[in-house]
């Protein structure tokens, strides 16, 4: 089987994705990396628009037929990162929402039930505030 550099690039990208998925990433750190990646993305974009032939040249170096195909491959990877990022963000939001709703529910409930049953209950209840 003939080896193409693009295969290495795509496989590395996929492995990185899987890795990020398994590892609990350090938030501030990854945020910085995401910003760097975005800046690089913008710069490469401008470059590619100005000199499209270079993209084709790079594609050839990597073993891809056309520059357009290379762009497509990179887009698939980028899409994967985006999806993962959104998923992780949603999950952390869901955790926060749960904590918030639980605190509200317990405090409200304590007050309500105190009135209903004429009890004297401690209002604050333990809520798990550990990081998601």
């Amino acid at each position: 089987m003939k080896f193409f550099w693009i295969q290495l690039v795509l496989i590395l990208g996929s492995v990185t994705l899987a890795f990020m998925f398994i590892r609990r990433w350090d938030r501030a750190n990854t945020r910085a990396w995401k910003r760097i990646a975005f800046s690089v993305f913008v710069l490469v974009n401008i470059y590619a628009v100005l000199r499209p032939t270079d993209v084709t040249w790079l594609a050839h170096q990597l073993g891809v037929g056309r520059g357009t195909d290379l762009v497509l491959y990179v887009m698939v990877l980028a899409m994967g990162f985006l999806t993962l990022n959104t998923f992780l963000r949603f999950r952390s939001l869901e955790k926060k929402l749960t904590d918030l709703a639980r605190t509200v529910a317990i405090n409200e409930g304590a007050r309500l039930n105190e009135e209903r049953f004429d009890l004297d209950l401690p209002i604050s209840a333990p809520v798990d505030r550990s990081k998601a």
């Binding site: 998925f21 398994i22 609990r24 999950r91 869901e94 955790k95 929402l97 749960t98 709703a101 639980r102 509200v104 529910a105 317990i106 409200e108 409930g109 304590a110 309500l112 039930n113 209903r116 049953f117 209950l121 401690p122 604050s124 209840a125 333990p126 809520v127 798990d128 550990s130 998601a132």
Partner: protein
């Protein structure tokens, strides 16, 4: 005063307005302390619960059964004198007689958690397709095997303060059952199973877990395993 003053029943309820009052009042004949967590129901569940003698805690939005259980446990843990905590279904499929048996076992002091099992005694009430799937789940699940459980997804559980205080349900949806089992397997808590009777009424059948939802549970669980630390 009842001999069960130190027991709290935690009942998560989502759109159970039709039956919740009957279930709660039925259970209160034996267990005076009940907290019903209304998980953001869209029907008049809260109104019906208010008419009973149970404590009511309302999620402002619907979060899922796992979240409701965790909220109910947190609430019950904060109540003075609470020693034993039971998770009980709102649709009337669990029996208070079973909870009494489970509490009695906990009171002996050699166990921290008692889980209900539909399969220890063959009672023939479980629909066969459900029986096959649930048994397979219990056999395949590595954590359930480690604890030698026969039924990994039974909603009826009783635990002592130690166990309830350590349990942190993070799976808001239905995957919490597996999460609880894997938490127990990873802890040094002493777990036992007792046979329980489940009443599969038409109502509970209609409200209960469809098997296709098992796909969701497997998906949630596998994501969680993968994203742990």
């Amino acid at each position: 005063m009842s001999q069960y003053d130190d027991v709290w029943l935690v009942i998560p309820a989502y759109n159970e307005g039709q039956v919740i009052a009957d279930v709660v009042e039925g259970a209160r004949k034996t267990f005076p302390n009940i907290v019903v967590v209304d998980d953001g129901s869209g029907d008049d569940s809260a109104k019906h619960i208010m008419e009973t003698g149970a404590h009511l805690v309302r999620h402002p939005v619907n979060l899922g059964q796992g979240a409701a259980l965790q909220t109910g446990l947190a609430y019950a843990l904060a109540q003075p004198g609470a020693k034993y905590f039971a998770t009980f279904d709102a649709d009337g499929q669990h029996q208070t007689a079973d909870v009494e048996k489970m509490v009695a076992l906990l009171r002996e002091g050699d166990t921290d958690v008692v889980l209900g099992s539909r399969f220890i005694e063959q009672n023939g009430q479980v629909p066969w397709i459900k029986r096959v799937v649930l048994r397979t789940a219990a056999t395949v699940s590595p954590t359930a095997r480690k604890l030698k459980l026969t039924d990994a997804h039974n909603g009826l559980r009783v635990m002592n303060r130690e166990a309830a205080g350590r349990l942190r349900i993070t799976m808001n949806g239905m995957a919490h059952a597996s999460e609880i089992v894997s938490f127990l397997a990873g802890s040094d808590l002493r777990v036992a199973e007792l046979p329980v009777d489940i009443l599969y009424t038409d109502y509970s059948r209609a409200k209960g877990q469809s098997l296709i939802n098992g796909v969701n549970i497997i998906f949630d669980i596998s994501l969680r395993e993968r994203s742990r630390r």
